[in-house]
Symmetry: C2
Subunit: 199 residues, 2 copies
DNA sequence: AGCACATCTTGACACTGTCAAAATTGCACC
DNA sequence: GGTGCAATTTTGACAGTGTCAAGATGTGCT
């Protein structure tokens, strides 16, 4: 769990707090996380966390940031070990995206929660970074278009926006318990790939 | 604003509370709504609302319920006055859905917020009702398939799940401020219709 | 008028985020 | 080794929150 540097009094309180917060969120949901409960769990006083995170929101933003990194890693690694054929690539990508989101909803909820994106503490750097992730997806689409695998009727940007919306929507509906049939997840992902990429 | 029956002490407190809550949410967001502030705004004591709503959650669920009704009305009416040609119908539907969601995010946030769907007070009747709305959409897709306008390669259920995910995803990303370019909304909706329905 | 009941208020409790001031600790330097 | 400084943590406090139990108040019916 993080680099545990045992430096000052506690030793990497910051990292410990992040990890503990993620665990609370996983078990009790975002609303189940309170700064005081978190401090208790870690064994420090209620306001110790405020020396490492300006805000509760800052803590959540930090976790969201970590989420972006983790998801990118997960998708890249899934892509790396899959078949190089276009159809397989696309399938892999779609499944990897939704799978990660559903299995790590503690992160995903925060990554795309409105609080982080419209918060009073405008996380400019944060928004810019995640915008980078989206741009990488647009580039990906563009490559697929140039190699003739998907239609060029729409601009890469538009196609990326719509197809990503779909991935996001599927993930959200599964996470929020609106699509209750968990066993349908695979089928839905495959259907999405079929529709978007004519796989 | 509701039927204002002026019956007992206040006169339709329940309806007044709902309306006031919606307004607070529109201005300050869901997290800006507190039962006490709401009671203040309406001019009653802090715990008066608890005689009309068991919970804060019950209030939110009631608003969400109203949202489902309102959105269905909006979409139906948009559909009714549009051209009867398939392409126009689909375009109309997509735009109507996303438009309503974006313009009434006070409702939309609650309709598909995880709290309502996984809350400790399982709103069984609520879930069943909204499932009805989804089924209506599946039926709509089925009709489109039978009339040969969209591919029958996928089952109506799967197609409905994926395409609705897309509508939901687009709406969410716009509402949450992740798609910042509001002027792109129209273009994104049109692109979605193009991809899904080969309009 | 009086009764039953719906409706509303007051007081209270445990919990929340967050700040200011005070206390503690670790490290660098003499 | 002792001393001072700065990083770190704690304690006390305040305003807000959801919600409940008991009491107060008004309404309509007989």
């Amino acid at each position: 769990m993080t680099t545990a540097k045992k430096s000052y009094h506690h030793g990497d309180l910051k990292g410990t707090l992040e990890d503990a917060a993620v665990e609370i969120i996983r078990v009790e949901g975002v609303n189940g996380l309170s700064m005081r409960k978190l401090a208790d769990k870690v064994g420090v006083s209620r306001s110790a966390p405020y020396h490492h995170f300006e805000d509760k929101q800052a803590l959540l933003s930090a976790i969201a940031h970590k989420g972006f990194v983790l998801q990118a890693e997960a998708i890249d690694s899934a892509e790396a070990q899959g078949e190089p054929a276009f159809e397989a690539q696309v399938m892999q990508f779609v499944h990897a995206y939704v799978n990660w989101a559903v299995e790590h909803s503690e992160y995903y909820d925060l990554m795309f929660g409105s609080e982080v994106w419209q918060g009073s503490t405008p996380p400019e750097q944060f928004a810019q970074e995640s915008r980078g992730y989206f741009r990488r997806y647009v580039d990906r689409v563009q490559r697929w278009q140039e190699s003739g695998h998907i239609s060029q009727q729409l601009s890469a940007l538009r196609f990326a926006q719509v197809s990503w919306s779909s991935l996001h929507g599927i993930s959200r509906l599964l996470i929020d318990g609106i699509y209750v049939d968990k066993k349908a997840q695979e089928a839905i992902c495959s259907a999405a790939a079929t529709i978007f990429f004519k796989v």
